[in-house]
Symmetry: C2
Subunit: 332 residues, 2 copies
């Protein structure tokens, strides 16, 4: 219950009220060892009493550290991000650091502006949860503060640590599953030519080659869904589809059902991401799940280490897993 009459109480007010110097208040509050137990409790009591809150701006200015990290997200409404952020926050909280989130509305320019803004605000480091920023922007930010990025960078920035999921392994999980069910004609439905998508596309190609099967990639923005549905009914048509992400997979599922194509019996579908939508569609979408919270925690861990001066940039890859639901079955 802060008293907060007029202006917020400062460290000097606390010092005066406790009859000590402001330096000692500073030490006591930060838990420095060289303060006697008696005075410390007294000072803390007085501070609490006055409703004192240490001024982050002043501390940041004096120390060059604000104890706050920034998280830059390209798109708030992407539920993938929410889990990653939760992971970051849990780690940051544990280390006693605050977290602020910046939001770039899926626009690289806005994203870059927000990144600068957060750095201006004095955050101690930034985690970029977006693959939309180019290496130059990332490196410019990294020249100011430690930066860690989550996801697969389009081009590798030089001074930025990266945490990503193992898209190759994820694609293998999906294709092994389909192959194991008996599927042989499996097409890939790609959403865009962005980095994460292309990693999955390549992994698809390699896994198919490994299994000695022909690979076919269709693009959503080039009428791939319609082409796939048209082919799926025919004798030599595909019996399964590995989609680049869950949104694409959900669209396909939707349109397939509209076209009276039975899923999974006539067409099996596997998505990627294990987004919320994968559980909301009917039947539930079989999909590759990324360890989102773990990715967030790992990113935070790397950032904290770099803030503590520790280290050089690294790249960490985490293992995905497969969530089997209702859109996959043996071909009929």
């Amino acid at each position: 219950m802060p008293t907060a009459d007029r202006a917020a109480p400062t460290i000097v007010d606390v010092a005066r009220a406790a009859g000590v110097s402001k330096s000692l208040v500073s030490l006591a509050i930060r838990g420095d060892a060289g303060v006697s137990e008696a005075t410390r409790t007294r000072i803390l009591a007085v501070a609490d009493d006055l409703g004192y809150r240490s001024n982050v701006l002043a501390r940041g200015l004096a120390r060059g550290r604000t104890q706050v990290i920034g998280v830059l997200v390209s798109d708030l409404s992407n539920p993938y991000h929410a889990d990653v952020v939760a992971g970051i926050e849990s780690r940051a909280d544990a280390a006693g650091l605050g977290t602020v989130i910046g939001h770039g509305q899926s626009d690289a320019r806005i994203l870059a502006a927000r990144l600068d803004q957060m750095l201006d605000l004095g955050v101690d480091g930034v985690i970029v949860v977006s693959a939309m920023l180019d290496a130059a922007a990332l490196d410019a930010a990294a020249a100011r503060r430690p930066v860690v990025m989550v996801g697969r960078p389009f081009e590798q920035p030089r001074h930025v640590s990266v945490v990503r999921n193992h898209d190759e392994r994820g694609a293998s999980l999906a294709l092994d599953h389909l192959h194991g069910l008996g599927h042989r004609r499996i097409v890939h439905l790609a959403s865009s030519r962005r980095a994460a998508a292309s990693a999955r596309r390549h992994a698809y190609g390699e896994a198919m080659t490994r299994a000695d099967l022909p690979s076919t990639t269709l693009w959503v923005d080039e009428g791939g869904v319609a082409a796939l549905l048209a082919a799926a009914g025919t004798p030599a048509g595909p019996t399964a589809c590995f989609a680049g992400n869950d949104r694409t997979a959900a669209t396909l599922l939707h349109d397939a059902l509209d076209a009276e194509l039975a899923v999974p019996t006539e067409l099996s579908i596997v998505g990627y991401d294990d987004a919320q939508i994968a559980r909301q569609v009917r039947p539930g979408l079989t999909t590759v799940a990324q360890p989102r919270e773990a990715i967030g925690r790992e990113a935070a861990r790397l950032l904290l280490a770099r803030i503590d001066g520790d280290s050089d940039t690294v790249e960490v890859t985490l293992e995905p897993s497969l969530a089997v639901r209702g859109t996959t079955a043996a071909p009929c």
Copy 2:
């Protein structure tokens, strides 16, 4: 392209390089009138050249203003929030203010902690996009900085402006629509006893009374969905349901289809929010749409006014509209 050799250049570096006093640099950069055009351009050129960025911490400390506002959301993955935040940001950007987002993981305690944290960071004001915080927490924050909340507060805080959608009107829209289609036995499916939900529930009751129809409210957490589905098949059972929000409506739709109950012919469903999910389910959900971006812009407008010292707290209500999709039809 910042040079950024060692430490970031300060206003003093710029002053020295331009051969003027630091005060003049400060004035020039902030666009003060009393600086000759010649010196201003020279100073700005030098600043740009050195890659000077004004230190928000120092400015905040000296001025008591950081030019950054905070947005507190209860849940990142709620797509409703993303639109509101976009509206807030567009307004804040226009006013030259930065925006940081804090995230409370749908937990009132975390939410309150993040709120304090943002205030500690020195934001000039906060917009709370969540109905989970109690009046005491909001008022405590409002004692420090201007606070505007979006949504319907559980209890009315005293020093906080509120922007909300007109739940009563929204419920009327939904019920008029159903009534117009010929429905007479319309039940309400309520998700929780939170503020927004109870406003909708009351509005439902009143609209039904106005139309001289009996009202029945079922609760999701008390087996309401099952009860509703059981009754819906029977002769005197309900022919339509007005759900408290889209998530609830989607669950109902899902379970209805599972139970082989035809939607909309045997049961019409109207949701509330026009969330993403309303467009993703099949058939598309008829639902009440809130003007989300407008709500965000309005909230930012109110906050900026209060930051400029302008005003007393107000309450603004914006009009919802009805998005008619595939889950409503005349009863058969």
